[in-house]
């Protein structure tokens, strides 16, 4: 199993598709929720967030992009793959700096490719952070070793 994906999608059939597709491509579904609020709550509650959020825009309650903004406040390194039938959301998402934006319907291959790229980026970010931490620890320990 590779990566941990949080799915935010209110259509049960689309959600079913994503679950099946991710399982077939050996990606882990970290959690699946149908509203933006639930997604934000998960980020608030869990210390170890998912690697990438597979996000719909038009949802009950707040929109996907509003949820993304709130998640970014909590976790600035969060990565999103937006898949939406809402034309107006596409330019807003790009302006927000979301790299992976697809119009519905997107083919499985393209969607998986975006998820893989996002997971790669999450991995390299995590490695970078770990290296920084190690350097930070070494620096802190440095004077004590002298």
């Amino acid at each position: 199993m590779r990566g941990r994906v949080l799915i935010v999608e209110d259509d049960p059939d689309v959600l079913g598709l994503y679950r099946l597709l991710l399982a077939r491509r050996e990606m882990e579904v970290w959690n699946a929720v149908r509203t933006g609020e639930e997604a934000v709550d998960l980020y608030r509650a869990k210390a170890d967030p998912p690697d990438v959020v597979l996000l719909d825009h038009r949802l009950p309650g707040c929109t996907g992009l509003e949820a993304a903004n709130r998640i970014l406040d909590l976790h600035p390194a969060a990565l999103f793959v937006l898949v939406t039938a809402d034309e107006s959301a596409i330019s807003i998402a790009r302006a927000m700096g979301i790299k992976w934006v697809h119009r519905k319907p997107v083919g499985n291959a393209k969607l998986v490719q975006s998820l893989m790229q996002a997971l790669d980026e999450a991995e390299s970010k995590a490695e970078g952070e770990a290296a920084e931490e190690r350097t930070g620890v070494a620096d802190e320990e440095g004077p004590g070793n002298e």
């Binding site: 689309v14 039938a85 519905k104």
Partner: protein, 367 residues
């Protein structure tokens, strides 16, 4: 009889006044005259019907009895004094029974033969019906936008699940060739539904005010995205980008993507060839002092016969038994909006059976 006046002249004068009086009285529009202080000195029958007041009740009173706000009346008076008239001003009048009545007024300053201001003539038209119709149109537009949005969004959303599951089924290696063929047919139909929905959406955006704003757009990324989306929907097709100018900007709107996608899809879906190919060429051209960009989209499909070469760009005209006939007519509308040109040719001159060439000319932005 005054000095110098002839009998016949006086008779004509009186006759004209009489006719004028009858005309004012029987007019279907409300006519009023006020003196220099704003006191009513003429109030015709239509004015009575409109306001509910009788002539006797209002004569000598100022027109302020019809106005809810004194400021509105003062603004009208000021404009009449400064510019001689107020035209087609929409205001709300108060009727005798307290109803608020939307009307359009025309007020003209009256002067005597010496040019001195002696009062104003007011013509008032009831616009309740016009307002109601305007409201109806707005409501209809709002409803159409709402239904459009709902339909487009939901159809595309449902297509996501349909397309995704079909693609997953197609991965099953135990499927027979016949089963695969049927699944591919289903997928093709699903693609056609999406294309149709997208085209209708483009059309509805094009009808709106914001959809008609033309700005400089970078052509390269638009072509790249269109090619990528069409290949994804039709993986059996080969699209060759023959020449490419990533830095060129053209006058267009965000609907340029829909335009290019439409042209590419058109070359793909009407292509019975076992190996469908679409060639896209971007070329800079100059005509006089103006610079243009020519985008040609060629295919090895069934071609367009000479008699249909113009018809395919006409709206709502179906020129073949498949499809809505919307793709090229929509392309033409978009190109017209961008101030460009579009036409159809044979890919191989004088041989339509070798495929079509759609030539698109867009205005280049001078950098």
């Amino acid at each position: 009889m005054t000095k110098g006046e002839k009998i016949g002249e006086r008779g004509t004068h009186v006759g004209e006044l009489y006719l004028l009086g009858r005309l004012l009285e029987n007019s279907k529009v409300a006519i009023t005259v006020v003196d220099t202080k704003g006191n009513l000195i003429l109030f015709n029958r239509a004015a009575e019907l409109l306001t509910g007041y009788t002539r006797e009740e209002v004569m000598g009173q100022t027109v302020s009895i019809f106005y809810e706000s004194r400021e509105e009346l003062e603004r009208i008076a000021k404009t009449v004094m400064e510019h001689g008239k107020v035209e087609n001003r929409e205001v709300t009048l108060l009727t005798k029974d307290g109803h608020r009545l939307p009307v359009s007024i025309l007020v003209t300053a009256l002067h005597d033969s010496e040019g001195a201001f002696v009062g104003s003539l007011g013509i008032t038209v009831d616009i309740r019906e016009q307002k109601r119709l305007e409201q109806d149109v707005l409501e209809q537009k709002r409803l159409v936008a709402f239904y459009n949005d709902l339909l487009f969004h939901d159809i595309l959303n449902f297509s996501q699940a349909a397309l995704g599951f079909l693609e997953l089924l197609l991965e099953d290696i135990s499927l027979s060739e016949e089963q695969k063929r049927l699944l591919k047919l289903s997928k093709r139909q699903s693609n056609r539904i999406q294309n149709l929905v997208r085209r209708v959406r483009t059309l509805s955006v094009l009808e709106s005010e914001e959809g008609r704003v033309v700005t400089p757009i970078l052509l390269g990324p638009v072509i790249e995205q269109a090619v990528s989306e069409v290949i994804e929907a039709h993986p059996e097709t080969k699209i060759e980008l023959c020449s490419y100018h990533p830095d060129i900007r053209v006058w267009a709107s965000p609907l340029l993507l829909d335009l290019v996608e439409n042209l590419l899809t058109n070359g793909v879906v009407h292509n019975p060839s076992p190996n469908p190919v679409v060639w896209v060429t971007v070329r800079e051209i100059e005509r006089g002092d103006e610079a243009f960009v020519q985008v040609t989209v060629e295919d090895n499909g069934a071609g367009i016969s000479d008699e249909r070469k113009q018809l395919v760009f006409e709206r709502y005209r179906k020129t073949n038994e498949h499809g809505s006939g919307l793709a090229l007519s929509l392309a033409k509308e978009l190109v017209d909006l961008f101030g460009g040109e579009i036409w159809a040719e044979d890919r191989v001159e004088k041989d339509p059976s070798e495929g079509a060439r759609i030539v698109l000319v867009l205005r280049r932005v001078w950098e």
